[in-house]
Amino acid sequence: MPGNPPPDSTLPPGEVLVIEDLDVTVHHGAATALRGISLTVRPGEIVGLVGESGSGKTLTCRAALGVLPPGVAVTQGTITFDGQNVTDLPSRRWQRLHGSRIGAVFQDPAAYLNPNLTVGSQLAEVLRVKRGLRRGQARDKAIELLTAVGLHQARRVVHQIPAELSGGMLQRVMIAIAISCDPDLLIADEATTALDVTIQAEIIELIKDLRDQRGLAVLFVSHDLAVIRELCDRVVVFYAGQVVESGPVQEIIERPRHPYTQALLRVASAGDFQRRDLEVIAGQPPRVGARISGCRFAGRCPAAVDACRAASVPLTRLGPEHEARCVRVDDPALSAASAVLAAGPELASR
């Protein structure tokens, strides 16, 4: 198989989530959407997943949460949460982990809250069910949590229904629910994508604070490398259902080694507010489950050579934590060749 997951079966202490060589099929096995995904999240670490839509980031999160939709199945590999193999855990046992050990936050907070109940009662319900608090205790704890996530008027907010709160406030409520039982792991799937930039910056700070204060481990999904850069310690780059590069954020931003990562960086928000050419990544990603011999990015890669298409490409270890899946990863000419990539198509010429 492509990739060389660490062979040790005894888990090193202090890894909250370990995904090893995971394959996931969709459409009842008709297509393989994830191929050999391996990643780890340690306590107090924020790991970012980045890639285009359809690259498998969300599916990886759902597998790690044990909430794969019907027709989607893990066909290979293991998911280990806090030393326990949870790959084939029955849903009743998952429920014990959800909310209490693993929290989750998604893009659209309004969709996960009951529009007719006050946010206080929804937060208190979690505390009563998952932590066995009594009504009064749960209420006090709810106010404490809402204050901790930066809602200044928590005493008022508990009596409000979701429609009375803004998107940023709702996302804070979702985070309060997700951390209400002191989970070990928070999974945030595009949790800031729909928010205004000022609110996004506040939520990013909140997640960092929670990590600092509680040692929370976070798996954070975003299609925006700039957001990943602001928040994460390590980043895993997805392309067409595979990990193409992973490593410490700063190293990946400063010295990306895979042509796809290099392209993502060139199109990301520089944030310097300077006028510059806006670059694009030419071409389209392959369809989910497409059978491609060799590198899955070769079709869009200007640095591609015959060797790229000859056989599947394994991850090459480039540093203690840095890996990339590219035949030419050690070729000094690679960066120059891939720079052509974002030179951009002729707009509107055909």
Binding site: V197, V227, L265, R275, L278
Partner: protein, 355 residues
């Protein structure tokens, strides 16, 4: 680039108030909005959710009616038109709005060709053959092949759907294009593609474009002028090169400081402000809360007694002919005050246990 030509603005919005809802639920969504668009310029309209960006666009095209103020297009008042005159103006297609969500604004049962040609068909002044030609031209202009004509929106990617929306607007032969959040649902590469496409349309057709976005940094790449809206009021309006170098309204500065970036912070020491220098803390004096106070006062760390009255959007000193204005009584003072504030986090709730 914007030239200070002798020609007047193509679009003049002046003193527009818009009220949405009725009775007890009525709320003033836009208040005293002035906005000019000159021929051939790209204007970026930024602001957060609920600031009134979309309502302003809808007011310009005539989908919302102002309670006060006027909208002039090419010197002619269009906001007061009623009945047949109003329908005629709308059908002329002079001003086209590209809606926010292509999945919801494109009819899922129509083909791409039908969607792009529908407006022309309703207008009824072109034979079918010519409509077909115009549809083909519009699709070509947005970089889509005519092979897509028989497809339906559900079969297209997000970026392609957005281009279909733009093609539909172009088919009408507009003289002004308004795009409501054209890139917010797209990934970085598709976002850049759409923005370049719009810049190309301006360059080749001289088409003025208003781009509504909550993302300041992507506008920096293509806009000539930026207009910042906060809670229904324009708080700053000026050339991007000026506004993005030395913003004169603290809200503009906060938006800029909040934008995520791949480049390391602090690459422009002395000029770049941190969000912590621009956010209110509990240590700041209470802002004025009178009903007519500055809209930003409640979030502004520099608010003082004089901010109890909303300042007008007044010209600020800039390069000659730069048409730069801001609505802040302290527009000259706050940058220095901001630099005196701590650029790192002011003590948040519980003390942080850092190792």
């Amino acid at each position: 680039m914007t030239t200070t030509a002798a020609t007047g603005p193509l679009l003049e919005v002046s003193g527009v108030d818009v009220v949405l809802g009725r009775g007890g639920r009525a709320s003033l969504v836009l208040s005293g909005v002035d906005l000019n668009v000159w021929p051939g310029e790209i204007v970026g309209l930024v602001g957060e959710t609920g600031s009134g960006k979309t309502t302003l666009a809808r007011t310009i095209v005539g989908l919302a009616r102002p309670r006060a103020g006027r909208v002039l297009f090419n010197g002619r008042e269009i906001s007061s038109l009623r009945g047949a005159a109003r329908r005629r103006e709308r059908r002329s297609g002079h001003i086209q709005l590209v809606f926010q969500d292509p999945l919801r604004s494109l009819d899922p049962d129509l083909t791409v060709g039908d969607i792009v040609g529908e407006g022309l068909k309703i207008r009824g002044d072109l034979p079918a053959g010519q409509i077909g030609e115009r549809v083909g031209e519009a699709l070509t202009m947005v970089g889509l092949t005519t092979v897509l004509r028989p497809q339906r929106p559900g079969q297209l990617s997000g970026g392609q759907r957005q281009r279909v929306s733009i093609a539909r607007a172009l088919a009408a032969g507009p003289r002004l294009l308004l795009c409501d959040e054209p890139v917010s649902a797209l990934d970085a590469s598709n976002r850049n593609y759409i923005l370049r496409l719009l810049a190309g349309l301006r360059d080749r057709l001289g088409l003025p474009i208003v781009i509504i976005s909550h993302d300041l940094s992507s506008l920096a790449g293509i806009a000539d002028r930026v207009v910042v809206l906060y809670r229904g009021r324009i708080v700053e309006d000026g050339p991007v090169s000026q506004v993005f170098t030395t913003p004169r309204h603290p809200y503009t500065a906060l938006l800029m400081a909040s934008a995520p970036r791949v480049s390391a912070h602090g690459t422009q020491p002395g000029r770049e402000l941190s969000v912590h220098q621009l956010r209110r803390t509990t240590a700041d004096p209470e802002p004025p809360t009178a009903p007519g106070a500055c809209v930003f006062a409640a979030r502004c760390p520099f608010a003082m007694a004089a901010c109890a009255v909303q300042p007008p959007l007044d010209p600020v000193a800039g390069p000659a002919g730069s048409r730069w204005s801001a609505a802040c009584v302290r527009h000259d003072e706050w940058p220095a005050l901001a630099r005196e504030r701590s650029p790192v986090v002011a003590a948040r709730l519980p003390a942080r246990a850092r190792s």
